[in-house]
Amino acid sequence: MSRFTQALLILILLWAASYAAASLLEKGRFGADKIAVIPITGSIMVGGYDGFIAAGLSPDTILETIKEAEEDKSVKGVIIELNTGGGTVVGSKEIADAVKKLKQTKPVVALIRDIGASGGYWIASSADRIVADPLSLTGSIGVMGSFLQFSGLFDRYGVEYERMVGGKYKDMGAPFREPTDEELALLQKSIDKVHDYFIKDVAANRNLDEDKVRKLATGELFLGIEAEELGLVDELGNLGTAVNITKGLAGIEDASVIRMKEHTALFNLFSGFSSKAAYFIGKGIGAELKAVDNGMLIRA
């Protein structure tokens, strides 16, 4: 082995030793107390996709971050910083369940910024305490299963939908035809069950009477100040408030506040760009169709 190779190997070994030591110290075996802030921003969608239209926040990335905070011994408390209007039922529930599991080992405080509604509120309700700005939007304890239905548009342009199914409910909710009353009733039954589950979970999480939560669960959005009066939020404030509450719950006087990095897959980064492009293309086509329909022809 040449001298150069030997020297390079020694340098690499020294760097590896340094990196290992830094990783150990960072993992908090010997480190200062920390409060981890886990941001949840955007629509929550399992896989990060809602069809092909929009790329949202995959709960998998949040679950990984929560697990990291749970395993880090130097993290004494966690703040879940919410800026989300919710998303898919399963995605929101997965994160809410992870928060409930996390709070068994260390205190968790939810901080609602601009908006922490629907699935976002479900996640917040799973924490030990909720802090919101007086003008934050929260609540919206409800479920939405609305879908677009193009049968009228198809009729206008002479497009027909040839229905071929095995199982009468197989194409239930398909946007190409009008749903039957029976199908609407079935969909509504599922939505009601999910809504009921949501209500019961929030009531249990917040230690509120189920009937009271049911009355509030109209899907209405509340300002932070209103939510506090209704018992949906514990305290009005900001990140500083959340940090102080977390320190108090953790029984520590001083701590570094660190923002946990979101684990965003490279594919999701690209898909975010392409879905935004798709959105604007669709918007443009829609505007053109509307203009032609109105007897106008828009010229560039």
Partner: protein, 160 residues
């Protein structure tokens, strides 16, 4: 044909001071990269803190102590391993100077001892001041360890 004879033996030709200084700077940069880069994220959370913060909290003080300890160990490992194995650190290789033992082959103990002052700028300064004060070519720890830094290649002054 006259014989080409080198007038000075390598062991008797000390390395010029500017080469030693330049070699030290290069080694310091390399060591800085090895130690500083992995600790970048860890130290980032402390960058806004006042000096007093580091002594206000037992956990922070312990963290700081451990970071310092690791840095010193890596630094000493660099100098000791390179100088024992190659008689040269990377900086010394670039300037063609090397460590020579006055007591036979260079040992690990000698390589370690001669570099202890490099863990602290103040210690190193005192070590170098000794060299100037004695008008010699060895730092204090080089005298203790029985080593010196010389030119790596013999100098041929012509033909005799």
């Amino acid at each position: 044909m006259p014989k080409k004879v080198s007038v000075f033996k390598p062991a008797e030709f000390p390395a010029v001071l500017w080469k030693r200084a330049a070699a030290y700077i290069i080694d310091s940069v390399i060591i800085g990269l090895i130690i500083a880069l992995p600790f970048q994220d860890l130290l980032k959370e402390y960058e806004d803190k006042p000096f007093s913060f580091f002594f206000s909290n037992a956990n922070v003080s312990m963290n700081l102590f451990l970071v310092t300890l690791v840095s010193v160990l890596i630094l000493m490992a660099y100098w000791t391993i390179f100088e024992f194995k190659f008689q040269q650190s990377i900086g010394k290789m670039l300037f063609n100077i090397k460590v020579h033992s006055l007591k036979g082959s260079l040992t690990v103990r000698q390589a370690f001892l001669r570099n202890i002052s490099k863990i602290s700028t103040i210690l190193l300064l005192l070590d170098v001041i000794y060299m100037f004060a004695k008008k010699g070519r060895q730092r204090y720890l080089e005298v203790i360890s029985g080593t010196e830094v010389i030119e790596a290649l013999p100098l041929q002054l012509g033909r005799i």
